[in-house]
């Protein structure tokens, strides 16, 4: 959730809380007045001074004070809450590992290498010509999810084989190997479509990692990556 959205939610919650608090203070004030009445006859020093110098009640000032105190309390609590929420976000050492570099010079056609990126397996597959052909042959209207799901391209791009494969290297396919259904790891080179098969609930992906059958709603996502050299990829 973006920070601005979170801030808005927090704001709404605290505005509601604030009005509850001020209501509570108001009723406490009523209670106080009834107690104060009971003491009216007492000749206290303060009362004597007040009677001479002051008008009995100054509701505007009192209201201002209570509202100011309430507002400060709400702002203080809200501000103090943030560090306790934000501490649950990834820490600096986790964020520092956000990118990894992989050498793929040893990955021959028909082979794949799986590495960990942000705690998830990312598969880099050097596809055979047959696999590429199969991928290209699929008609867009046969696809369950028509979007490319490629973080390196247009968000609305079609799920063509070219839009899924690496730019300029149609044999290289880089994907996060996490089933879009409920997060299991699909098996390589298996399933009816020669691509990936998820053993948990039977989702089937084709040779371009597109969902073809089963409960998964989306194609396997393609993380941001770039070729630093012909044989080196930086993911993230």
């Amino acid at each position: 959730m973006p920070a601005s959205e979170a801030a808005q939610v927090v704001e709404t919650i605290f505005f509601n809380l604030a009005s509850t608090v001020t209501d509570g203070v108001a009723s406490a004030r009523m209670l106080k007045r009834s107690y104060a009445d009971r003491w009216r006859p007492l000749p206290t020093r303060k009362e004597a001074i007040l009677a001479e110098s002051d008008t009995p009640a100054e509701p505007t000032r009192r209201d201002f004070l209570l509202h100011a105190a309430g507002a400060f309390g709400v702002v203080g609590v809200a501000a103090a809450a943030w560090p306790f929420i934000d501490q649950m976000n990834p820490d600096a050492s986790t964020r520092a590992l956000a990118s990894v570099e992989v050498d793929i010079s040893g990955v021959k056609p028909g082979q794949a290498v799986t590495i960990m990126w942000r705690g998830k397996p990312v598969v880099i597959r050097n596809r055979t010509e047959k696999e590429v052909e199969e991928g290209k042959a699929v008609k867009l209207e046969d696809l369950k999810d028509p979007l490319a799901r490629n973080a390196n391209g247009d968000a609305n791009a079609d799920a063509t084989d070219a839009n899924r494969a690496a730019a300029g290297k149609e044999n290289i396919l880089v994907m996060t190997k996490v089933c879009t259904h409920l997060g299991c790891i699909p098996l390589d080179e298996s399933g009816e479509f020669g691509g990936w098969f998820c053993p948990c609930h039977g989702s089937q992906y084709d040779t371009a990692g597109r969902i073809r059958k089963g409960p998964a709603p989306e194609n396997l996502p393609i993380p941001p990556y770039a070729f630093i050299s012909d044989s080196k990829i930086r993911i993230g």
Partner: protein, 425 residues
């Protein structure tokens, strides 16, 4: 929780709820309509401050536990990763570490307020004893918490304190082995201390509920130490006590913030930034400041007393110094509660306070340091003697020989006398 309830649910939902779970009534009677003496001074706000500190410690502690690893090989490192990498980790850890000290500062003010105004006397004995139990639990929680960063002071503090038990004849050694789960303080010790450190605050919270319950049964003491006679003596808790408590809580937060933001390591020990090393004892082991008076008492007993050797004697004296508090309601024989009306008690009390501070100082120096011409251990013996004299001789005897000043008829009368125009200027 006591007496007649003034709560009347106003809304339909309120009535529906009230018929099924009268928790709103409980809160109303406890924190709104509860009658509180009119003449309470600022020292009475420390109960509220302590409640706040307990919440702060539990909240920051739960958060720290999300990032801390209780394994002797990584504990030190995990604390440092909290300080360096976790978002706001430095803030939360400094809040927790300094929070422990603030908790003790507040509890000492609270205890000494009770001692001066005789808050332990009938009918508040149970209230007082529950307080002593909370204090004991706090000490246990603080000690085990201090072990968790697994620095040099953590390790050697744990070693020294668990060795207290070896002072007991025959059963001592097996008990110590059982407590630390090995032949020396190690991973097993760290793990169980973490578990217990997480548990104890909730036990404290439970006893605090009993403490507050007992308070609401017998009512608050007050600076005059006399009973509440009529409605004129009291004001409702809300808004009177709440407005005052809130102000003092925020003032206390300023004091707390001063340490957290500008001198977060003032109350700690530099050696605890060195990872635990079982092969090297620091040159000078000292506990956290709040244990120093008891540490001084422990070290004061360096002589054998009949069958009791100096080691057992020191441990007994130290635990006795805490245990004696539980018997205080029966040791103080005076019928008058507030020290304000007891001229001789007043002197003894302030001497006791100074003596406690001095014991704290003695706990922080080496026993053979020369203080005012004598070794520190000599002063520690004298101070320990006065500590016990105060409870075991002075308080019991004073009740019989002291002539208290006349007590006011009621709180209301006393306030009127004070604020009458004739007494001003």
């Amino acid at each position: 929780m006591s007496g007649h309830s003034t709560y009347v649910p106003k809304t339909a939902l309120g009535k529906w709820f009230e018929a099924r779970l009268p928790v709103v009534r409980l809160l109303h009677d406890t924190a709104v309509s509860y009658p509180t003496p009119r003449n309470l001074n600022a020292l009475w706000t420390f109960g509220g401050i302590l409640a706040m500190m307990l919440v702060v410690q539990i909240v920051t502690g739960i958060v720290l536990a999300m990032h801390y690893a209780a394994d002797s090989t990584v504990a030190f490192r995990s604390v440092e990763s909290i300080m360096r990498d976790v978002n706001w980790g430095w803030l939360i850890r400094y809040l927790h570490a300094n929070g422990a000290s603030m908790f003790f500062i507040a509890v000492y003010v609270h205890i000494f307020r009770g001692l001066y105004y005789g808050s332990y006397k009938p009918p508040r004995e149970i209230l007082w004893i529950l307080g002593v139990i909370i204090y004991l639990l706090m000490m246990a929680a603080a000690f085990m918490g201090y072990v968790l960063p697994w620095g040099q002071m953590s390790f050697w503090g744990a070693t020294v304190i668990t060795n207290f038990f070896t002072a007991l004849p025959i059963v001592g050694q097996p008990i110590q082995t059982l407590l630390i789960g090995g032949f020396s303080v190690d991973n097993a010790t760290l793990n169980r201390f973490f578990s217990l450190h997480y548990l104890l605050p909730f036990l404290i919270a439970g006893v605090v509920v009993l403490h507050v319950w007992a308070l609401h049964v017998v009512g608050q003491n007050n600076p005059l130490g006399i009973d509440v006679k009529s409605d004129k003596d009291t004001v409702p808790f809300t808004p009177y006590a709440t407005s005052k408590d809130l102000m003092w809580i925020v003032l206390f937060m300023i004091f707390y913030g001063w340490f957290v933001f500008y001198q977060p390591n003032f109350l700690g020990h530099p050696d605890n930034y060195i990872e635990a090393n079982p092969l090297a004892t620091p040159a000078h082991i000292v506990p956290e400041w709040y244990f120093l008076p008891f540490y001084a008492i422990l070290r004061a007993i360096d002589f054998n007393l009949g069958p009791i050797d100096s080691k057992l004697g020191g441990v007994l004296a130290m635990f006795g110094a805490i245990a004696v508090l539980a018997f205080l309601p029966w040791l103080d024989t005076s019928k008058v509660r507030s020290g304000r009306f007891r001229p001789i008690f007043k002197v003894a009390f302030w001497l006791f306070g100074l003596n406690a501070l001095f014991l704290g100082f003695l706990g922080s120096v080496k026993t053979d340091d020369i203080i005012m011409g004598f070794q520190a251990v000599v002063w520690a013996k004298l101070s320990t003697l006065y500590y016990f004299l105060y409870f075991l001789v002075i308080l019991p005897v004073l009740g019989y020989i002291e002539k208290p000043k006349p007590l006011p008829v009621s709180i209301n009368d006393a306030i009127l006398a004070k604020s009458a125009p004739s007494s001003v200027h």
